[in-house]
């Protein structure tokens, strides 16, 4: 039973987390205490120091200085806070350098385009003020714009002059602040060559495919919801704790740390004696055993002794169908039927009559999933019967006893002495060689071999 609901596309503007921080920083009670800051001979009101910013972030978010400096620096780089000293350099200095909050009009989230016209007015103002002494790239941009929007140049010059006249009537402190604000804005919207463009977000993502009403299908599981299996994750993490190199180390050592690849050499798919941790893992769950090629091999040995190896062979053959080339499906399905399901088959598997009937029906139009039901039946048969018995068998117990349990080596006394980092044969090369020998199977994992054959 499926239910349908009509889903409408909402177009909410979510407040940027960055803006939330900026707003919090300016809270009259809990924000940064702003003061007058001295810039040479001028006194700038409503300003703060780099130190103020770092300390506030540390306190507010309970983070260390390194992280606070990092976050603060990002706020400056994105133009929400600008420096008064060295305004061309949008970085946060954790010292007494003065900073101010950018006016929201100039926030990068406002998303109105920083037009050529506005940029032209800005550069013209600068050009007039500096009497023609613009910086290289700004001079270049100015000349380019002059050519491109020449038809409105009178308007540009008029606007520039108006704005300069208005600014002359302001106090020096205000004038400096406004110039810095505008400069920060243009540093972000027209970054100098070589500087990273913080506006870059990658290829455009269209957030809505259609603006029309969209039908959404919901499964009826809503009615059959189960309670959260609370301890599942706890149990799993505890079980695998000592197998997780990041939690518990890695016997004898983590190759990435010590440059010693013994750990990898001991755990290849062709070792004669597996490690203790590895053999232990096979007992955690059936899938763990099957997905390890060596585990599967050892399990096959056991099944052969029990005369039920055909089950695992059947399962592998079904996997081959499911994950193999589309073109070979009909042929493979026929072979599997002949080998495993047909009456009198050499490796006959015991599938219940209902599943057999369904499978035979599906054989008329063989597809990738035609063996799924039979495969699952045999899988669960192995899981419930052969697998538990295997774990109790002498074969498995011997593996555990004989398994290698390397000692975890202490850190090298001279950690700065690097061992030679052995290269290993590229899997593609190995596969090529095997293919030439005619020994390669179709599916992937059994072919990965051990790294480093040379000392």
């Amino acid at each position: 039973v499926f239910t349908f609901i009509l889903k409408f596309q909402h177009d909410h503007k979510v407040s940027l987390p960055m803006e939330q921080v900026i707003v919090a920083m300016q809270d009259p009670d809990l924000g940064i205490k702003m003061k007058n800051q001295r810039l040479l001979i001028t006194v700038i009101p409503h300003a703060m120091t780099g130190n103020d910013i770092v300390e506030w972030l540390m306190k507010k978010y309970s983070i260390m200085e390194e992280e606070a400096l990092h976050v603060g620096d990002l706020l400056v780089r994105h133009g929400y806070i600008y420096p008064l000293k060295e305004p061309r350099n949008l970085v946060l200095r954790p010292d007494e350098s003065p900073y101010r909050f950018q006016t929201p009009y100039f926030w990068s989230s406002q998303q109105w385009p920083a037009s050529e016209l506005d940029y032209a007015i800005y550069l013209t103002k600068k050009n007039i003020r500096k009497q023609g002494q613009l910086i290289d790239y700004e001079k270049e941009n100015y000349n380019l714009l002059h050519k491109r929007i020449n038809h409105t140049w009178d308007f540009v010059v008029m606007q520039a002059k108006e704005q300069l006249r208005a600014s002359k009537q302001r106090r020096k402190a205000d004038r400096i602040v406004l110039e810095c604000q505008e400069q920060a804005y243009w540093l972000i919207n027209r970054p100098p060559p070589g500087a990273f463009d913080i506006r870059e977000h990658g290829p455009e993502r269209r957030n809505r495919l259609t603006s029309r009403v969209q039908l959404v299908r919901l499964h009826s599981f809503i009615i059959h919801q189960k309670k959260i299996h609370d301890r599942t994750f706890i149990k799993y993490s505890e079980q695998y704790f000592s197998h997780d190199p990041m939690m518990h180390g890695c016997p004898p050592s983590n190759p990435w740390i010590t440059d010693d690849i013994t750990h990898w050499a001991l755990n290849t798919n062709t070792v004669s004696t597996p490690t203790k941790l590895r053999v232990e893992r096979w007992s955690f769950r059936f899938m763990e055993l099957l997905s390890d090629p060596l585990g599967r091999l050892k399990f096959m040995e056991y099944l052969e002794k029990e005369f039920s190896a055909e089950n695992l062979c059947f399962w592998e053959a079904c996997e081959d169908i499911r994950h193999g080339e589309n073109s070979r499906i009909p042929q493979k399905v026929q072979e599997v039927y002949k080998q495993f399901l047909a009456p009198g088959a050499s490796k006959w598997v015991n599938v219940d009559s209902k599943t057999m009937e369904k499978t035979l029906e599906g054989l008329r139009r063989p597809n990738r999933f035609v063996m799924d039901d039979a495969q699952m039946h045999i899988y669960f048969l192995m899981k419930k019967d052969s697998y538990p018995r295997y774990l109790k068998s002498d074969l498995y117990k011997n593996l555990l006893v004989k398994a290698i349990a390397p000692q975890e080596t202490k850190r090298s006394v001279f950690p700065f002495m690097r061992r030679h980092r052995h290269s290993s044969p590229n899997p593609a090369l190995v596969a090529q060689a095997l293919e030439e020998d005619g020994k390669a199977k179709r599916l992937g994992s059994p072919r990965i071999t051990s790294p480093a054959t040379s000392p």
């Binding site: 239910t3 349908f4 609901i5 009509l6 409408f8 909402h10 909410h12 987390p17 960055m18 409503h46 978010y61 983070i63 992280e67 606070a68 006016t103 929201p104 009009y105 037009s115 016209l117 208005a166 406004l178 604000q181 993502r205 269209r206 957030n207 809505r208 259609t210 499964h219 809503i222 009615i223 189960k226 309670k227 959260i228 299996h229 599942t232 994750f233 706890i234 799993y236 695998y240 197998h243 997780d244 190199p245 990041m246 939690m247 983590n254 990435w256 740390i257 193999g324 080339e325 589309n326 073109s327 290269s423 290993s424 899997p427 593609a428 596969a431 090529q432 599916l443 992937g444 790294p451």
Partner: protein, 409 residues
């Protein structure tokens, strides 16, 4: 900008004290937000069950407003139904567990060679090789252990956002703005041009965002900016199954490590994470709790849950059997989106690569952050733990890849 207005008017606007402007904007935003009403909508016990309500036929007289109201009510009811079964959050259950100690993270290898932003990477099953792709079209195969480059291919497009290593280690798949996924068999003949043997497998109608081989080299699963995912036969390039249901660009996917191996999860710009049945093409579960694009999804090692990373600066954990979100990993000081997530081998740790250049590591059970790694000089765009859990690799817009490990001390 206000064109044609007087210069003085513009200046006045820009001169407003920042806090005044912020206050006004917040008020306006609160008014605009229509969602405030949802939670407080009255629900009487005589209201029909969501399942019944929804199967009512559409009448020609139903206006857009009434339909919208109905959809909102339905959604609220669904949440209510889900909430009824809500017992506790994961971190509450994990209260009694010992907290993790101090962790130290160290970068052990830095792979330099890409000339532009690294966008994606994947590990080879041999636990030491990786494939990476970048904005300039380059796809490189490295032995990360020795830092040697072993293969390089230049794609005919820029922004190669997806790449994957074949299970056999004999091929790599990649794609991006070309809307395709191509497979390159890895040849060891130095003189042979890898591009010559290239096989075009997937064809979408918008950019390729992610790709992954299934259990063999013969099938590839893709996700695309065209809003769909698809399963392809590598040999013939045939489309085996397509998956429709996302309302916007699909950005990521991950195959389930389950016994039956028939499902995968995808995340998209519609803020939804969908779980799909690969046989039928149906969406069998859907989760929508993120507040922005979902950039990355990754299954918990047991397959019972998956984690997601989003532009809303949070990572979340979704329990598949309980059918809901069970944990949020966030911190007020983390204000940039998470681009990529992956679990440590035991699933106890969740690694998140973020757009603020950092990597944060979370205690999956208790929900707190246990470590932070600085080092990249630009966005972390991709992050994967190695197949045996000994290390993790991060790729960044700073053109480098770094292999780092995490140790409890």
């Amino acid at each position: 900008m206000l064109r044609g207005s007087s210069a003085v008017a513009i200046d006045n606007e820009r001169n407003k004290h920042p806090s005044d402007v912020i206050a006004a904007a917040s008020a306006a935003r609160a008014r605009r937000s229509g969602r405030v009403g949802l939670a407080t909508a009255s629900r009487s016990t005589s209201d029909p069950h969501p399942a019944e309500m929804a199967t009512h036929e559409l009448h020609p007289n139903d206006t857009l407003t009434t339909l919208k109201m109905e959809s909102e009510n339905l959604k609220a009811k669904l949440e209510e139904e889900r909430a009824k079964l809500h017992d506790v959050e994961l971190h509450q259950v994990a209260e009694k567990i010992e907290a993790l100690g101090q962790f130290v993270m160290k970068t052990r290898r830095t792979l330099k060679g890409h000339g532009n932003k690294v966008l994606c990477m994947d590990w080879c099953k041999d636990k030491r090789r990786i494939v990476s792709s970048s904005q300039d079209g380059k796809v490189i195969v490295w032995d990360a252990f020795t830092t040697n480059k072993e293969h390089a291919v230049t794609m005919p497009c820029t922004w190669v956002m997806a790449c994957a290593y074949a299970p056999s280690g004999c091929a790599v798949a990649c794609g991006g703005l070309d809307n395709k996924c191509s497979v390159y068999p890895l040849s060891l003949d130095k003189n042979e041009n890898l591009a010559a043997k290239k096989k075009s497998v997937a064809m979408h109608t918008n950019y390729l965002s992610a790709c992954s081989f299934t259990n063999s080299d013969m099938q590839i699963l893709t996700s695309s900016g065209d809003g769909t995912c698809a399963l392809w036969d590598v040999e013939s390039g045939q489309l085996l199954q397509s998956f429709h249901g996302h309302g916007a660009d699909v950005l990521c996917l991950d195959l389930a490590p389950s016994e039956t191996g028939n499902t995968f999860v995808s995340g998209g710009c519609d803020k939804k994470a969908n779980v799909w049945d690969m046989r039928s093409g149906q969406c069998i579960q859907s989760f929508e709790t993120h507040e922005s694009d979902i950039n990355s999804v990754r299954y918990y090692p047991s397959g019972d849950a998956f984690a997601s990373g989003s532009d809303d600066a949070t990572c979340r954990l979704y329990d598949l059997r309980a059918d809901r979100e069970v944990a949020i990993y966030s911190k007020e000081s983390i204000i940039f989106g998470a681009s990529s997530v992956d679990f440590s081998l035991s699933g106890r740790l969740l690694f998140g690569g973020y757009n603020d250049y950092t990597i944060n590591v979370w205690d999956v059970l208790k929900g707190n952050r246990v470590s932070i790694l600085f080092g990249h000089e630009n966005r972390v765009s991709t992050l994967r733990v190695s197949p045996d859990g000994t290390a993790f690799c991060s790729g960044s817009w700073d053109h480098t890849l770094r292999v780092s490990e995490e140790e409890g001390i």
